[in-house]
Subunit: 312 residues, 2 copies
């Protein structure tokens, strides 16, 4: 079986880019992997670790050779995507498939329009829902995407052959590929990911400024650990996300703040019935979510990965 | 070696009470364990499971026989403690040690004063920092308190022999015993436990009312699961805690809300520097906390439990 992809170029060799490069090499889902990083040491380290076949700091070294069946994956922080697109524009043939992994899709779509003046069919925007507290080239993990979701957000302009290729790229490394509109993606991630991160950062910042800080951290229980783990995420990445998804994030923060204010009022008024109603409803919703996750996991177990090394 | 405790009476055979009963029996840290529950079936089940030696629905069956060296552990929801204390008052000798496991200590201290008119030396208020999503007699777990913290909040009135006995009771089941004032306990738990629970309940309630609810739960990632796990906690227990620790909880909610509002403003103003500063500070605080936990865990490993079955 032929690998679906010819050359895979990964721009940005952090956790997200490095893991796709490594997984694609191990599954042999492309003929070769070229890594692009700003720092020569990152390029050297990626080669040493076997994450890429080749690596360079200069995209011009490889961009002109690419054609149909080749894929460029842009894996840089959300607000750096525009700079990368502007650099690629003049160098890359319209036959090459370009995709990205940024956490916000509306801002990237605006970047595309700013750089190209329109949305070229070769562009397939996407977002792998995977991550870890670790970052950098050393964190690359061939199993990062296994049974994780990747959301693609094609537009009317997206070419079906390009969409198909990006879908194959993610499926080859074990991901479940879903599609959403750009707006739905940003609203849903704003609620399920960006809002919880904003809350966790605000909570830890609150406790870190309390006069009882040392005691607070000393007596904190396990639930607190789970609850604040996401506040250890990369600060620059999250700064970018909040600035890129402003509208959806503000909307989510406002809804949440109104609910918290209502709960505050019920506590202040000692409104026992109202509190019990809120907590019972939330518990039922969370238990429903646990159920959905359990069902999802059962469906995800029998994933069979194509192995493009098997020439049959 | 003699067990430090004669008869241990556990009132309320849920997770907290049942686990102390079972662990005390297994470590032989008392001569016998008597369970008290409101439902005869709970009594029967606790005996079947070997959690208690005897069980009854009527505290009067056992209260009059108790004396110095015996301990009564009240393990009922926070707002039910007063009713239990009122029932015990006329039945129990002043020589008997009485302690509790409620999550809020200021409200229990008020209950004590309301029932007794003063704080008797025999009363040692406490709070085991342990829990699980499970509840009920079936959830009893002999290792629940192993390497977990128990905070005791003695007052000037507390008798040292009673404090010593309660301390021994918890150490015998593997817990690390600490002391705080009632006010510090309620402030610290308000910030590290009650506030995060209020936030988690409010967040899940917010998402459950969104027009995108089904999609929100479908696309939610692992961080969201950790973040909202505590919203699956028992609704009645948390209603009681919020009503019992009103002052500290409102103070904590107000500090957090002010911080979240400042972050919202920075996002709305696209204030990149301010956001990076908040996120960097929060990440540093969370990383410091992770370090404290790791150090604490190392200290906790070489715990050697006394075994009161060894008669030497």
């Amino acid at each position: 079986m032929q690998p679906p992809i010819g050359t895979l170029v990964v721009i940005g060799l952090g956790l997200i880019g490095g893991s796709l490069a490594l997984a694609s090499k191990q599954r042999a889902s492309c003929q070769r992997v070229v890594g692009i990083a700003r720092d020569q040491r990152t390029c050297d380290r990626a080669r040493q670790l076997g994450i890429v076949d080749e690596a360079t700091t200069n995209i011009a070294d490889v961009a002109g050779q690419l054609g149909a069946g080749d894929v460029i994956f842009i894996a840089v922080p959300t607000l750096s995507v525009r700079r990368v697109l502007a650099g690629l524009g003049p160098l890359v043939s319209a036959a090459v498939t370009i995709t990205d992994g940024a956490s916000v899709k509306g801002s990237v779509l605006q970047d595309v329009q700013a750089v190209y003046g329109h949305v070229p069919p070769q562009l397939v925007l996407g977002h792998p829902i995977a991550g870890a507290e670790k970052s950098g080239v050393e964190a690359a993990n061939a199993n990062l995407y296994l049974q994780h979701r990747v959301i693609l957000t094609p537009t009317e302009q997206t070419g079906s052959e390009h969409l198909h290729l990006v879908r194959s790229m993610w499926q080859a490394v074990g991901a479940e590929v879903l599609e959403l509109s750009v707006q739905d993606h940003d609203d849903i991630l704003g609620a399920t990911s960006h809002l919880p991160h904003a809350i966790a950062f605000a909570l830890v910042d609150t406790l870190a400024h309390d006069s009882q800080t040392e005691n607070i951290f000393r007596y904190a229980a396990g639930g607190f650990r789970d609850f604040t783990r996401i506040a250890s995420s990369d600060a620059t990445m999250w700064r970018d996300i909040m600035l890129a998804n402003t509208h959806s994030v503000l909307h989510a923060i406002d809804l949440f703040s109104a609910n918290l204010a209502a709960m505050r009022e019920a506590i202040a008024q000692q409104d026992s019935e109202q509190l019990l109603a809120i907590f019972t409803r939330a518990k039922a919703a969370r238990d429903h979510f646990t159920q959905m996750l359990a069902t999802g996991a059962q469906h995800a177990v029998p994933v069979v990965l194509p192995n493009f090394n098997d020439h049959e």
